[in-house]
Point group: C2
Chain length 479, copies 2
Amino acid sequence: MALTPRPLSPVLLFSLVPVAAWFILRPFIEPVPSLPALYSSIGFSIFAFLASVFLVPALGPAFVKANLKGRDLLKTYHTPIPESLGLVCASIYILLLILFIPFAFSNPISQQAYLKRSHEGLIIKEFPHYQLSVYLSSLLSLLIATILGFLDDVFDIRWRHKVPIPIIASIPVLMVYYAERGNTTIVVPLPFRFMFGTLVNLGPLYYVYMSLLSTFATNSINILAGINGSEVSQALIISVSVIINDLLYLPWPVDFRIPLHLLGNNVELGFGGVWSAGMSYGSRELVERHLFSLYFMLPLVAVCVGFMYHNWYPARVFPGDTLCYVTGMAFAVVGIQAHFSKTLLLFFIPQIFNFLLSCPQLFGLVPCPRHRVPRFDPNTNLLHPSKTMFELGPPSKISALVLHTLSTLGLTELTVHPNTGTILEANNLTILNFFLLKLGPMNEKSLVKVLILSQVAGSLFAFFVRYGLAGLVYDGDRR
Amino acid sequence: MALTPRPLSPVLLFSLVPVAAWFILRPFIEPVPSLPALYSSIGFSIFAFLASVFLVPALGPAFVKANLKGRDLLKTYHTPIPESLGLVCASIYILLLILFIPFAFSNPISQQAYLKRSHEGLIIKEFPHYQLSVYLSSLLSLLIATILGFLDDVFDIRWRHKVPIPIIASIPVLMVYYAERGNTTIVVPLPFRFMFGTLVNLGPLYYVYMSLLSTFATNSINILAGINGSEVSQALIISVSVIINDLLYLPWPVDFRIPLHLLGNNVELGFGGVWSAGMSYGSRELVERHLFSLYFMLPLVAVCVGFMYHNWYPARVFPGDTLCYVTGMAFAVVGIQAHFSKTLLLFFIPQIFNFLLSCPQLFGLVPCPRHRVPRFDPNTNLLHPSKTMFELGPPSKISALVLHTLSTLGLTELTVHPNTGTILEANNLTILNFFLLKLGPMNEKSLVKVLILSQVAGSLFAFFVRYGLAGLVYDGDRR
């Protein structure tokens, strides 16, 4: 089978470039909109999409030439597929975030917008100047994640050595957080307030929490990988979820309500109205934080869409670890800097499930082969759950106990010796094998769609928890 | 010949680690010194030296394994030498600059120092908080230079395509300069003031100047390469020169004078005195700028020394383009951010000479072979000037004119056809071939020493021009 690049029409380029240019220049056109830099951000995101959709296939051959290539393990053909193209996405993403700096931070633009709107209710100075260092430290962390991801692809670092890599990448964010004397207090849930009070200062533990957040966000995407489109679709749906959450906090010219009574809550939340800024309830700080998050998430969605076009089944390019590192770091950065890390973690439900399920293999209770991707049957073109074998002897008592428990819960399938009852094989403990176990063998394209659906379902559940249930354990002071 | 790694004593490690730790923690020990963060910077630099001297040989085999290796062209042996080890230096350098952030910028440290010294004359608040974004944008530029240098090593980008790479790396610095509404005026030399006035606002041209400065600083080191130790020794001497220049602007507890009358100037410059801050003449801004420069130059010197130990003839490791990119960018960054770009350029005299001499080959007047390094004679172990041949026919009239002029000036040597007088060959137009032409064939070790001497002589001349002659064309208001 010849694997030709996916078709790209120059019409796309010629029609979207003027649209993008209009958005970028919108802050300079009268009347200045209420959130001028957000228009520029949308314009830059359109450019990010165009750049990734056109550059990824164009640069593929250079990657193959530099020996950054791999065989697609779940296919019959042996065509070398360019690997680590996440580097191209990361470069486009970060470069456009850098070019965006003057639009978000330069005095002339923001001051002009400020003067225009000072009579229209809530005053949003679009971006406080001091946040420039926060923005720059975020970019530094993203760049370090990119470098380390690419080094991982080039040098093929062993996974036990690469778990702490995101901690290194999060150092700039932590250092600037410290230098800026960032807030290290958390709001205590209502049931525990009798013990700890309303606010608890975690001090240094807060920094540990932040670095663990980036480690989790990065590695949890990286271990839910292996089939075409899996990495990029996770990143895409999480970033869209974050964007939807951010939009709830922006000032909208129209008023709308979330029908929370349908979710079992007895209050309805009103949003928007002229500059009343949705869930922010008039807090300029909350609007600014969620603008910050949008500035990072909009171009991320754009590069992910552009990349996914070429990474979709059957994949023409592979993301490499670079894509997982840079997207995971981007989520950690907005969660930390815009102070919604708990909400962010709610968008990682499939990843949390996959991580917990993987723990027995990650921590050595169950043998962990190099690849845990589902097994491909070339005759039927279907994927089956892959197995891990106890080649070095029967499992220890604790391993057997864990596996029997997981098997009882329907999370794995065991092959036991007919006579002795010792475990010979077990399904590899990943969410992909779990889907195949529950839904039966299916082809790769269907499996990635199931993964996407589970991610979407997870995000819907997350919104329900955040805006429906959170009221039970937190009062209005949410962070 | 077996090429064994250079010996390293653990005594070095055990003796320097406590010294480094003491310097880093010095700001917390009473009495707090007048420039506390500078002590930490020295401590981090010692760690930078240790990390580079130990990690460069340790990581060499991983580079060879990842196919980042090369043959030493000027040797008889064929041992593969690990290439691009500049990446290790750059990573250490940038990581330590990031870890240094809380020492330079956190409020508790600087405020404590501030309170202690407010009664001792000149008040130095060590580092203004707003400069954090300037510092971070510099780090971003260094990181981008590192990535692009490494990509250049991995993908082997053609030189015409890589000339603009430093412009991309300088974007963060330029963007933040713009967002911060940086100063774009220059001081006009005295002879031209009747035309332009004292200050001229260059506006956008100033940004062009800054990006050209980074392009020049980076590429000029990159083209003066090819023999063991050449790249790193240039970087080392330029950074030491910048440090000496910075020290003239710091407050010293002792008073000293530069005997400028020996240089033909009729004034003597007094420095120091208790907190009178040398050449800064009490300007806090100048002290801060040169502290900024020191914070970037001290660890650079440290990693260069550590790397040079392994790169010295016969080299055990090669720097790759990564080292040239990151050092060149570091010089451009301090020149721009600390506003001494003209002084900085004076430290580049050998590079400027080499660039001007190379122009006929760089711009296609004279054929430019892939390598212009001197020719190695394996029998005598000596280097001779290498030749470029006119294989595609005789040179054009203008090429011949240029070559005859250079030959008359003694800058190259021509081989002409005995009958027709057309040029058949010319020495490659580099400073290394020029040295060999003037001083006769010598071995590689002697040639790199000549290069180092010329760089030192250039810096001495630079100081003479800057502090001796500049008074003729500028008054006190120098930038």
